[in-house]
Amino acid sequence: MPVAHNFELTHTLGFSSQEQELAWYDTQMSPATNLSQPLERLRLATTTSTYDSGLLDYLTPIFEKRYNVKVEIISVGTGQALEIAKRGDADLVLVHAKELEEAFIRDGYGVHRVGVMYNDFVLIGPISDPAGIRGMTNATGAFMKIAKTGAAENNPVFKAFELIISLNPEVLAITFLSLQVSGTTVLLGSAMSIPLGAFLGLKSFRGKRPLIEFVNVLSRSIINTFMGLPPVVVGLAVYLLLSASGPLGPLQLLYTPTAMIAAQLIMVIPIITGVTMAAVGSVDKAIRERALSLGATEWQTALTVLREARMGLLTAIVAAFGAAISEVGGIMIVGGNIRWSTRVLTTAIVYETELGNFGVAMALGMVLLAFAFAVNLALTYLQVKGVKR
């Protein structure tokens, strides 16, 4: 087995002081499982490198079974992991930055620090050693040699198809959660924003009184600004709200699909409102006058205008769904990309890409594309049908 250079890093397990139940884990948790009670949740913030090693995937089920607890793993950078724990959003941290860890304990955020492992970086390959790196002591040199001989080549596209065709259960779960989160977001968002957009759009029909005009311009500008809001900023704001130290901390919504829906709603509401507003506003003034001249009340006229704008409303929903299902920055922060819990297509793609699993990332990308296409196909069909009918 070829071995390259050794690195030495300490991985440290720290206990957050804000979770006094930790002692309880040690003393009272019995290996016996008690299914009648809801599972206690243990949230671990760790570094990407630990998580990516796959070690936790192996240990977690054993730990969960033994202590009858649900382990949720947030994999982020060391600084962010410690920050999350400081805010009370994680029970345990597993990181490697000794000085920061010691400061963390010294400042009273953690109660216990223990060194749990060191990591050796080892290159493992077939016995035939096609790149001829056996005996090398320099990792960079070894990788360059492998790259040069092309020995590490694999086909991500082939891998992607294999994952999709075999209906990999994790891919299915991720896809389902993506649809659930985006679908709920669009449904709730439409229920709130279509009436709002219609109201603002219809307002523009009314008189040119300066105050109404001013309110109109102001609300439109606000909506248009929010339409261009970076999702990451929204995610950060929602995170700070829902964090255990934030104003809505007691709701315990951080790192749940509900938090992801909340963040996406903030992004989707301006989109649906804005597009609805434009669609309703662009309905010919003549339609409104036609309704009035046929004896419609103001309310009936508004409904008629809305019905004429229905293709525009459909566009609003399509745009919102597209934005929601392809969004990544915001839901990464508030969802935490927790495996089997809050991992969705986009966050999984980022994660797998970082890991170098381009095949899996591609597979998920194709699923994402396929759903975006299916939804657009259905809605476009409706639009075409709506015009001809």
Binding site: E289, A296, R307, E308
Partner: protein, 354 residues
């Protein structure tokens, strides 16, 4: 008793006086036509009568009561009248749903709606179109649906803004037939605008000549068009109106001598003193004489050019002055200038005789 009484009505749009001190009465059961050139204020007058706009000053009385503009009474009055716009406006729904609209918003029951829509579609000769989307119809069919929309609610007053403008003769005659039928059989009062003199003469009992926001004459078509007034001459300059003596030719057409050596042939049989009218868009302008079946060809000289954006109006002196309307593209292609020679060609059937 007059159904509508208009007193000293004025309307301004952003400082521009569109209607100036209009007073007129329309009797119940009458057909009243407002005739005038484009931009005279015809549409504005109709919109005020339809209660879509409020006057700047003056008053409208409907059925003896002065109109106020509070939402409730306005709605109640609006529900007693129908309006057909010049630009056909239909909802993106089926023909049936379009016609049923006025009944549905009045909360009529399904069976009565179906019966009334069916009857009305028969009236405008659109049976079988129920399930078609209204936006897929031709211009003439669409305008008949718009008429059906306004008729199905059984209005006492029907306001029509150039209801047959830009339609082909078949659709024009269907609409004109429907209009005279509802007036005769259902006693619906009609107020219509038009710039077509013969339509005004054929349909309306009385005509009001509206020029530049002012009523310049009210009476029968003969009275209004027969009396040579300065205002009628202004209208004539814009719309090719001439008067002269007509004789019936052997072929069954008439030849009208409008003096200054110009004789116009018209596809009607009428003799004596008449007024003729040729729409500027019905005259073909060419640099060389055209070989065609058209009976009227005159040589003239360009004396005026008026740029109207996509359209250009050209005044040609051919003994009498004619106004011709062509598109900007044709105008650019022909490279016309003041003083250029030009030929005017139009069919005897394009000549309207009153």
């Amino acid at each position: 008793m007059p159904l509508i009484e208009v007193q000293n009505l004025c309307k301004e749009y952003s400082g521009k006086k569109v209607l100036k001190d209009i007073s007129l009465r329309v009797q119940s059961g009458e057909i009243f036509a407002v005739i005038g050139p484009n931009g005279a204020g015809k549409t504005t007058l109709l919109r005020l009568l339809a209660l879509l706009d409020e006057p700047s000053s003056g008053a409208i009385s409907f059925d003896g009561a002065r109109v106020d503009y509070f939402a409730k009474s306005r709605l109640a009055l609006r529900r007693r009248m129908g309006m057909v716009f010049q630009q056909t406006v239909l909802f993106n729904m089926s023909v049936f749903d379009n016609v049923a609209y006025g009944l549905e918003i009045r909360g009529e029951d399904r069976r009565s709606i179906e019966k009334k829509v069916k009857e009305t579609l028969e009236l405008v000769q659109l049976v079988g179109f129920e399930r078609r989307n209204a936006l897929s119809l031709s211009g003439g069919e669409a305008q008949r649906v718009a008429l059906a929309q306004s008729l199905v609610i059984e209005p006492e007053l029907l306001l029509l803004d150039e209801p047959t403008a830009n339609l082909d003769p078949r659709n024009v005659s269907i609409i004109e037939e429907v209009l005279s039928w509802v007036n005769r059989e259902r006693k619906v009062t009609l107020v219509m605008t038009t710039h077509n003199m013969s339509q005004a003469e054929n349909l309306a009992k009385r005509v009001g000549l509206l020029i530049d926001g002012k009523i310049e004459g009210i009476g029968t078509a003969q009275e209004v068009f027969g009396a040579p007034s300065k205002q009628l001459m202004d209208f004539a300059k814009l719309e090719n109106v001439f008067s002269g003596n007509s004789i019936i030719l052997e072929e069954g057409t008439s030849l009208i001598d409008i003096s200054d050596g110009v004789q116009i042939e018209a596809a009607v049989r009428k003799s004596g003193r008449v007024t003729v009218f040729v729409r500027p868009e019905d005259i073909i302008l060419s640099e060389k004489p055209m070989i065609s079946s058209a009976r009227n060809v005159f040589k003239g000289r360009v004396v005026g050019i008026l740029d109207l954006g996509p359209l250009v109006k050209i005044r040609v002196d051919a003994g009498k002055e004619f106004v011709v309307q062509i598109t900007k593209r044709s105008f650019n292609d022909m490279r016309l200038n003041i003083g250029s020679d030009a030929f005017l060609t139009f069919k005897a059937s394009s000549v309207q005789v009153v």
